[in-house]
């Protein structure tokens, strides 16, 4: 019975170590504070238990003590806050040049697609020692991508992209859970992350049945939908030239400026008139309901590939998952 009785989760990513270190610090603080409080209560309760002829001594309170036990915990809390914020900042900021994997969640399945074009369901193969960035959306309700061994979790929302990243440190097979309640088979929406040695990963990649990279597929969809008619690669198009725009600030018609990240591209395809680029007219047709989530991610991957770098490595600077 006790073979199967873990008390500590496997740590298989660089981020997991950071989380564990903070967690252990917090366990020590919590243990110290609770032992201190419980010991005081126990000592007082025994030392001052009711005895004949002994009366309680009335004490009004003490301003000095009140200030002490407000300020000292506050100081400790601020240390925890700062440490927690640093760990969170690392968790939420994908490094540049990460391998990108697009994730589409639906009731009750994870669909994953690698930049190279390999598709997987409920399984994600990644190489050890490489940064992997997940760009995720949902076809229906809110889900949450959770890999305990990496200590990462990110809700996956319909209608926008959220991102997460990790760098696996240990080959093996780890749980992938949906952590946001999503209906009947919520607990069946599980899978696994398989971390491979680089050589094995290359073998796995070339063994897959990919029909072209995501960017190539995206280019095909781009042509099929007739996008190149307006979005020409010169200055003559009725729509903006998409070359090199990804990750750059874009001046809008109403004077605002936005960064052309995954969410902006997505929004500009689905409801183009929301944020029109300065100097252009809102003439693009609405594609809401006309393209699937998979087609959208391929289009996003294609437009990213048009920017500098082999795979559109220029990522959003800080807040890819902020509200559009």
């Amino acid at each position: 019975m006790f073979d199967n009785f873990p008390l500590w989760p496997v740590a298989a990513s660089t981020g997991a170590r950071n989380v564990d270190a903070l967690y252990i610090f917090l366990v020590l603080i919590a243990a110290f504070m609770s032992v201190a409080i419980f010991t005081m209560i126990l000592i007082f309760a025994l030392r001052y238990r009711r005895r004949k002829g002994v009366h309680a001594e009335q004490i009004e309170g003490s301003m000095a003590l009140e200030i002490t036990w407000s300020v000292v915990p506050l100081g400790i809390f601020m240390v925890i806050f700062a440490w927690g914020a640093i760990v969170y900042f690392q968790e939420r900021t994908p490094p540049r040049g990460a391998n990108e994997v697009y994730v589409v969640a639906k009731q009750w399945m994870w669909k994953l697609e690698h930049e190279e074009g390999q598709r997987e369901i409920n399984e994600l193969h990644v190489p050890v020692g490489r940064d992997v960035k997940l760009i995720m959306t949902s076809q229906d309700v809110i889900h949450s991508f959770y890999v305990p061994a990496f200590r990462i979790k990110q809700d996956v929302l319909p209608g926008r992209y959220t991102t997460a990243w990790f760098r696996a440190t240990k080959p093996g097979t780890y749980h992938l859970f949906c952590a946001e309640y999503c209906g009947s088979q919520h607990s069946g929406m599980i899978g696994q992350v398989v971390v491979l040695e680089p050589a094995q990963y290359q073998a796995w990649l070339s063994g897959g049945l990919a029909s072209g990279s995501m960017a190539q597929n995206g280019e095909a969809i781009f042509s099929q939908l007739g996008c190149p008619t307006c979005h020409r690669f010169d200055t003559q198009g009725r729509g903006p030239n998409l070359k090199g725009i990804f990750g750059k600030p874009v001046q809008l018609e109403d004077g605002r400026s936005v960064v052309a990240d995954e969410n902006y591209i997505r929004e500009s395809i689905l409801s183009p008139s929301a944020k029109v680029v300065s100097g252009f007219k809102p003439i693009m047709p609405v594609f809401q309901g006309l393209v699937s989530e998979e087609q959208l991610t391929a289009l996003v991957a294609y437009i990213k590939s048009l920017s500098s770098g082999p795979s559109g490595a220029a990522s959003t600077p800080t807040e890819p998952s902020a509200k559009p």
Binding site: N18, A56, M78, G84, R92, Q154
Partner: protein, 544 residues
């Protein structure tokens, strides 16, 4: 026995009138408190029944006891029943209703008829919700997250939403009544600085009920409308935003935690001085910390959303504010501990519950520090760590306080003593059963077991078995008091007016009190908790 017989025949709020009409049309706050007591106890056992089924299902990794859909309904309805139909009304509507006028020396609440109306609203809501359960129930979790609740669930979401919408008004009316009563109805001499801290806690609670509950009501109404008429407020394909729902929902539902825990803190602040025979250490610190909790409680809601897709910077703001709200809670724990210093402490049942409250609330509070730490929250949110944490606060904290208060004031409410030996035994069983149920869940959560899972990987089984074992012990601990309270109403010893020699105006009238509480209006010339002027009581004997 002769004096007992005389006491029993004295006119009081219980024997003044008989018959069903005298209860259903009463405007006496004490009788309404008992109406609430019966109704919330009923819902507590329904919610508890759901909880036991949940724990039995989780005894094995496979989903084998009930279907997945049934399981989803069980945890959804367990949460909704326990929160909206038990915890939120529990202490305010029962003990608060009974005690607020007595403690401040008033004849009744400011609006006795509105008080009765609030109970009828509660009952209406309860009937709608029972109908919802019978017609198949609801499976949205207690949180109603969109777009699942608005567009995907095919259960009775609208009915559940309407039931909770109505229950909200009962809560608002109770809060309104308390605020006005505490401002306007205090007896001569009962200044703000002489108020029992139970009253301060209820004042803070009432403010949250008044300001927070309308937001929940509006939010649920939007869910109902969106589901019925496809408005698109939370639907991203129509330009809506599912996160807007989460912001609105938690704007109420985080402060709602303080609606549940503040009154319990108030109860504990009455019990500890009485059984330590001391004035409360740091009266004003404890009073003001209640107000601070009510205010700061409104500023931390998005700490439920650190992985939901809010921006990095708003997450940091809500994290730091969450640490701020921990300070006033810590202040209370330290002051309770300091109150014990140089006291004369007895270990009667209410005091055992108060000790249990401090222990479990401290654990709940300290694990809250983990969840407020952004980097940790990413890993443990939506896992059993969160489940354990909020049960430590809301069951370990709020329910321990509620049971402690029920024992402390039972002689006043019923005019009878409960059996002390059984009381202490039950307190011990509750404490042990609670820890066995919920402590393993912290470990499960850090291991990564997500909440709301009908089936789970086999390596989580041992901890789940421990938890289920604990829950059966806990169930025994909760049934026991109900049995002996009922028993004591007929067979318990007649209670004296002030069995604990406690300070507080409620103990200066008879047990049970007359309909208008006091023979003549009391005039207060002393501070609260003047235990130096009260003799120590005889130790309550363990035999019945």
């Amino acid at each position: 026995m002769a004096t007992a017989a005389v006491t029993a025949e004295r006119e009081n709020y219980l024997n003044k009138e008989y018959g069903i009409r005298s209860w259903l049309l009463t405007t006496d706050h004490k009788r309404i408190a008992l109406l609430y007591l019966a109704s919330i106890t009923f819902f507590f056992f329904i919610g508890g029944f759901f909880a036991l089924l949940i724990r039995l299902e989780l005894l094995t990794p496979a989903g084998d006891l009930v279907q997945a859909d049934t399981y989803n309904k069980l945890f959804s309805m367990h949460g909704q029943v326990m929160i909206f139909f038990f915890l939120i009304p529990s202490i305010p509507a029962v003990l608060g209703n009974f005690l607020v006028p007595l403690m401040i020396g008033a004849k009744d609440l400011a609006f006795p008829r509105i008080n009765l109306l609030s109970w009828y609203l509660y009952i209406t809501a309860g009937l709608v919700y029972l109908h919802c359960i019978v017609m198949g129930g609801v499976d949205t979790g207690w949180t109603f997250y969109t777009p699942f609740s608005t567009a995907f669930s095919n259960t009775k979401v609208i009915e559940a939403g309407i039931a909770i919408f109505i229950a909200g008004f009962s809560s608002i009316l109770t809060g309104l009544n308390f605020v006005v009563t505490i401002h306007r109805m205090r007896a001569p001499g009962m200044t703000w600085s002489r108020l029992p801290l139970f009253i301060w806690a209820h004042y803070a609670t009432s403010i949250i009920q008044l300001l927070g509950t309308p937001v929940l009501a509006i939010t649920l109404l939007l869910v109902v409308f969106e589901r019925a008429f496809h408005l698109g407020i939370f639907d991203p394909t129509r330009g809506g935003d599912p996160l807007l729902f989460q912001h609105l929902f938690w704007f109420y539902s985080h402060p709602a935690v303080y609606i549940m825990i503040l009154p319990s803190m108030g109860v504990v602040t009455e019990i500890i001085p009485c059984f330590a025979r001391k004035r409360v250490f740091g009266y004003s610190a404890v009073a003001l910390s209640s107000i601070a909790i009510a205010v700061f409680g409104f500023l931390v809601w998005a700490h439920h959303m650190f992985v939901a897709g809010i921006s990095l910077y708003s997450a940091m703001i809500f994290s730091i504010l969450s640490y701020m709200v921990a300070i006033p809670s810590a202040i209370k724990v330290f002051n309770w501990t300091a109150t014990l210093y140089k006291g004369s402490i007895s270990f009667s049942t209410p005091m055992l519950y108060a000790f249990g409250f401090i222990g479990l609330f401290t654990m709940g509070g300290l694990t809250g520090l983990f969840l407020a730490a952004l980097g940790i929250d990413v890993h443990v949110t939506d896992t059993y760590f969160v489940v354990a944490h909020f049960h430590y606060i809301m069951v370990g904290g709020a329910v321990m306080g509620y049971l402690g208060g029920m024992h402390f004031w039972w002689p006043k409410i019923s005019g009878r003593m409960y059996p002390e030996g059984w009381g202490r035994l039950a307190a011990l069983i509750v404490f042990l059963g609670f820890n066995l149920t919920f402590f393993p869940q912290f470990v499960l959560g850090y291991l990564g077991m997500p909440r709301r899972y009908w089936q789970y990987p086999p390596e989580f089984q041992v901890l789940n078995v421990l938890s289920t074992a604990g829950s059966t012990i806990l169930a025994v601990g909760y049934v026991l008091p109900m049995v002996y309270f009922l028993w004591s109403m007929r067979y318990g010893k007649i209670a004296p007016d002030n069995p604990w020699n406690a300070a507080g105006l409620e103990w200066k009238t008879t047990s049970p009190p007359p309909t208008f509480n006091f023979e003549e209006e009391p005039v207060v010339t002393w501070e609260a908790y003047n235990y130096d002027q009260l003799p120590e009581p005889q130790e309550v004997s363990l035999e019945r």
